[in-house]
């Protein structure tokens, strides 16, 4: 497949607006509706599909940066995106995890944890299902296990399964439960961190607007902005600034 940036006729450093403009211009030209009387309409249709794919691929690459690139939202916006992940330090290899929702890429969330936890056959089966994206099957196995066998690992798999099925609230709860049952486990605490901070780019953008409803409280807002700026400088998604749950105002 051709380089998607070439297909749209733009450089890799193009801003999102430039990408969108290039896409719109080309798609208007090659859209099947605009080529009904074109003797080469099949070629136009092929071209249209190619443009469509190129655009979606570029946007996918760029938006996936949102989730794990602290402040990466602004970065990608200004056109300097691309080097996603690196700013996140140790969390970089969580890539593609897209918070919740669209992910499909849990694979990378599996650290090098041994299988020592999984003496239980059921649990091992559930783990395999999750790793391969068979969330429904994983759910069935997990739900079939009685309460007494539900250890931290169970809650961890359950959290990933819920996330894969779009059950954000249960995913967060089960991840926390796993982390609380086994506080030393990095996989568990990382998962909680990801879920809680998947929306940090959203919050950063949110603070470029004034409070939609405001009676006083402006000091708190200023503090939030200060916290935000601080996080941007440290480039650590709040890690070095002692974690910034912005919503605490």
């Amino acid at each position: 497949m051709r380089d998607p940036y070439d297909v749209l006729g733009i450089s890799r450093g193009a801003t999102e607006e430039e990408i969108k403009k290039a896409y719109k211009a080309l798609s208007r030209k090659y859209h099947p509706d605009a080529n009904i009387n074109n003797p080469h309409k099949e070629e136009a249709e092929e071209k249209f599909k190619e443009i469509q794919q190129a655009y979606q691929q570029i946007m996918k690459e760029r938006t996936e940066g949102y989730s794990y690139q602290s402040g990466g939202y602004q970065g990608a916006y200004g056109g300097s995106g691309g080097s996603s992940g690196s700013s996140y330090g140790g969390y970089g290899d969580f890539g593609g995890f897209g918070g919740f929702g669209g992910f499909g890429d849990f694979g990378s969330a599996w650290g090098g944890t041994g299988t020592g936890y999984e003496e239980d056959n059921y649990l091992r089966a559930a783990g395999n299902y999750v790793r391969n994206g068979y969330y429904k099957e994983a759910r069935t196995v997990l739900d079939g296990m009685e309460e007494s066998r539900r250890n931290a690992r169970w809650y961890y798999y359950s959290a990933l399964t819920h996330a894969g099925l779009g059950n954000q609230v249960s995913a967060l709860e089960h991840a926390r439960r796993a982390a609380a049952m086994e506080p030393g486990n990095r996989d568990y605490s990382n998962l909680v961190y990801q879920f809680e901070n998947g929306g940090s780019w959203y919050r950063q953008r949110q603070y470029t607007y004034g409070q939609p409803y405001n009676v006083g409280n402006s000091l708190c807002l200023k503090l939030c902005i200060a916290n935000l700026i601080c996080n941007l400088c440290c480039g650590g998604g709040g890690l070095c600034c002692g974690g910034g749950p912005y919503y605490r105002y």
């Binding site: 403009k21 996918k60 938006t63 918070g99 919740f100 967060l172 809680e196 929306g199 409070q211 009676v215």
Partner: protein, 281 residues
């Protein structure tokens, strides 16, 4: 309708507000033409967002005109109308009808029964034009109200049902953007459902009515927890929005998605906190 999908006017340029308002007027006018005064009464900001989102994505031929209307009898203002004004008007009528049916069945509100009756003819004509879509939304609405009667406390499931309804409404066309719009709608719907539950939770507990957040409301971390959950939903919605090739009016839409949508949350949250401080004092 729900009144959550609104702008943050303080942060909007005058020019942007005029454009937003012109789509709002266009929707109002379309409702009146298609469904008469009865239809016009169902006008909502939520559906104005839908018109603007679809118009900005598809950039259809849009009719521009100047009108005077009852709400503003002395000044002329701009009206923008296109195929999506019609679509949103249809969706608005359908949805309002369902809301009336629910409100009547749940709370026996006579006013809603009466209004629902008036809307019935309009509703039937929408059902005919949108066969499969109308059927799907109807099924989901019925399931939602059934599960509410069963006191289902699985908020992922409940919010998910409403999310599917919104997904169906946003996915206006069967084309290459259908899936992105549906995903946006799913998360927007989850946000609205949970926001609505958050707003009503105290009252629902008092009145012994269903609310999916009843159990959680007891928790000391309730406020923080809800804010995290709501943010997760909007982040997912916007992740999908940012992928769409929208240039025209993108700032107006962002004003709604990143800021205006939090208006009611902030209002409820601040009032509740204040009430708590007073209780403590």
């Amino acid at each position: 309708m729900f009144g959550y999908i609104i702008i943050n006017k303080g942060d909007m340029k005058f020019k942007e507000f005029d454009i937003y308002h012109s789509y709002y007027c266009g929707l109002c006018d379309t409702l009146k033409r298609q469904y008469g005064k009865v239809g016009q009464l169902s006008l909502s900001y939520d559906m104005t967002f839908l018109v603007m989102l679809l118009s900005s994505l598809y950039e259809p031929d849009t009719e521009l005109s100047q009108v005077k209307c009852i709400a503003h009898p002395f000044e002329k203002h701009t009206v923008r109308k296109n195929e999506f004004s019609n679509y949103a008007a249809d969706m608005n009528v359908m949805f309002t009808y369902y809301k009336c049916r629910d409100d009547w069945e749940d709370d026996r509100k006579l006013s809603r029964l009466a209004y629902g009756r008036l809307l019935r003819r309009a509703y039937r004509s929408v059902c005919i034009s949108y066969g499969a879509k109308a059927k799907k939304i109807d099924g989901l609405m019925r399931e939602l109200s059934l599960e509410e009667k069963r006191e289902n406390q699985d908020i992922d499931y409940m919010a998910g049902l409403f999310g599917e309804i919104m997904g169906e409404i946003l996915a206006a066309k069967a084309d290459e953007w259908q899936e992105s719009l549906r995903t946006m709608g799913v998360f927007l719907g989850k946000f609205i459902y949970l926001m609505d539950a958050y707003e009503d939770v105290e009252e629902d507990i008092r009145q012994h009515r269903y609310n999916p957040l009843k159990r959680r409301f007891e928790s000391p971390d309730f406020e923080e927890e809800i804010k995290t959950i709501l943010t997760m939903m909007m982040a997912e919605c916007c992740r999908e929005f940012e992928k769409l090739p929208i240039i025209e009016n993108a700032e107006i839409l962002r004003n709604i998605l990143y800021s205006g949508i939090w208006y009611r949350y902030e209002m409820v949250h601040q009032k509740r906190e204040k009430g708590r401080e007073e209780d403590d004092a």
